[in-house]
């Protein structure tokens, strides 16, 4: 217990109010996560794992409970502070890549830096270095539609890394990819973790989850299992 938790949730609840009445999707989740960890979140559809992930990513707010990120109580942050947290401390990777179609890869990767008010030259330099790191240097001036799905996801990972975040969150990052490109993306994530990046990913696929160091399972809005991966899949 030497290092403090990077992420800590206590009795985290989330309810949606619909016409049919209030409807709780998280019934009180306790979860801790240290720097340098690599955790996969699994669970069937509707188990609340995506909602949990969105709360971790400061995209959604819990109804009650505690969420502290880097020792900071997220629930007390203003909308602007939340935006700053997403910008500087968190990196997102989505299932559908979510790159801006009209911008080239270099501009896409530089977008978080734009919102961090990094100057144009510095932004370009750092974006290009990141694209080279994920093996996309030659495609810097291509638009997302001009490269493959695996390349788009790698560009999205480069974008998530742009502001050197403390925590990388990936929601089904391989969901749209075939197994070969899926493995490429996972090996990139593994090497990032080996370099010290903290990673949480949501997945359906056991193969993907087996790349992580720890698996957390959700069922019916509760965290029901939390175990280390004994036989890590090497890529």
């Amino acid at each position: 217990m030497a290092t403090p938790y990077l992420v800590e949730t206590k009795d985290l609840k989330k309810a949606y109010v619909t016409d049919a009445g209030a409807f709780e999707v998280l019934h009180g989740v306790n979860f801790t996560f240290r720097e340098g960890e690599f955790t996969a979140i699994m669970g069937p559809s509707g188990s609340g794992k995506s909602t949990f992930m969105n709360i971790l990513g400061c995209l959604d707010t819990p109804t009650s409970g505690v969420y502290s990120l880097l020792g900071q109580d997220v629930l007390t942050l203003s909308p602007n502070e939340l935006a700053r947290t997403r910008n500087l401390f968190l990196g997102f990777v989505f299932q559908g890549y979510n790159l801006l179609p009209k911008a080239d890869l270099l501009e896409n990767v530089g977008l978080p830096l734009l919102y961090a008010r990094v100057g144009s030259a510095e932004r370009k330099r750092r974006s290009l270095a990141l694209l080279e790191k994920v093996g996309l240097g030659p495609w810097a001036r291509h638009r997302p539609s001009q490269v493959s799905g695996g390349q788009q996801q790698r560009a999205a990972i480069a974008r998530a890394l742009a502001s050197e975040p403390k925590l990388l969150l990936a929601d089904e990052p391989t969901g749209n990819l075939d197994s070969q490109t899926s493995d490429d993306v996972m090996s990139l994530l593994i090497s990032l973790n080996n370099e010290g990046a903290s990673l949480i990913l949501v997945t359906h696929e056991p193969d993907v989850a087996a790349c992580a160091k720890r698996i957390v399972r959700f069922r019916d809005g509760l965290l029901v299992e939390d175990s280390p991966v004994l036989h890590r899949r090497a890529l």
């Binding site: 995209l59 997403r86 979510n98 734009l114």
Partner: protein, 407 residues
Amino acid sequence: MFPAMFLEALRAMGSNRLRTFLTMLGMVIGVGAVVLMLAVGEGARVTIKKQVDALGTNIFIVLAGFQNTAGVRSGSGSRQNLTQADGDAIEGLDDILAVSPVSFASLQLVYSGRNWNVMVNGVNERYLSVRSWDVADGREMDSIDSQSAARVIWLGQSSAKELFGSDDPLGKTLRVGTTPFVVAGILAPKGQSLDGRDQDDIALVPFSSFNRFLQGSHFQGVVRMLMIKAREGADMNHVQEDIRSLLRERHHILDSLQDDDFFLNNLSAVMDSAEAAARAMTLLLGAIASISLAVGGIGIMNIMLVSVTERTREIGVRLAIGARKKDILTQFILEAILVSLTGGLLGLLLGASGAFVVSSVWKMSIQITPFSLLLSFTVSLATGLFFGFYPAWKASGQNPIEALRYQ
């Protein structure tokens, strides 16, 4: 930050060219209409001002008073109490450049078989300078003409044409009624007066000759009217008061409650009302044109709202990677302003070229003022801001997670 956002806004404009063009078209037509209407309205105002200026705003007219015979008031000029000596006295006042007596009568002019009824004015040699009028052909009236009551006549362009056709009238003798007069000069063209009279259908003779040969008063030196020219830039109200008090003194009106026995007018009042009318017209035209500008603005708002809905996911992504509400707001407002400003500038070109077409096809006078250019620029900027704000605000207020889920 800003240059990158500007480039993004440009790209957003370029990504759907037809839509951008159609959106812009509303602004182009709106601003074009405003520029055109202001140009036409301002042109009309300048034309009117020119006409009034041609009469002279520094001109005062003194009319003789009216007669009251057993309660029957017989109209201005009917009383024979205004004299040449009054005119000479006024000429001695400060800020007065020239004074001319004017008496007039509508008389038949005859020249070798042709005849024409003309308003014949008896004036002195300073009349033309008072009216800012020139002699186009021949000589000017001089003091000898006045002193000797010479039978010489000056004709306006129209009168000369009616009587002489293509012949050269100079030096020819015509008859005014029964008295022969020699044509000494032809006046420069003056055009129409404000009430539509042809100012070129006129004849001038020396005042003394008018009195002696044509329709003189029974009293020596009595005039119908005095025309006075004051120095340009002088305080006209002050000059008017000087003339009034001088005339009252000369006419022995000592009681300050007693009315003037003359009428003193200044044309600046005429000009003020004419200009006010023209300004009202410009305002009306501008207001009508502004309606199309508002319609153009609503077009921008409409398309921006569609665009915000279409780009909900993009907004979600931007929010997820750290864009603040303000960043999204700025981006969409920038796009709206860019569309409206570009449209505004194109509209300016359209309106200006439209104005030139109007002026060359319909021979209307137009006037494009820096004010109308500045106005249309400001208005298109403001339209972009105003009609872009709501969609932008709507975009920036989205919940990131809902925006990301939007299909």
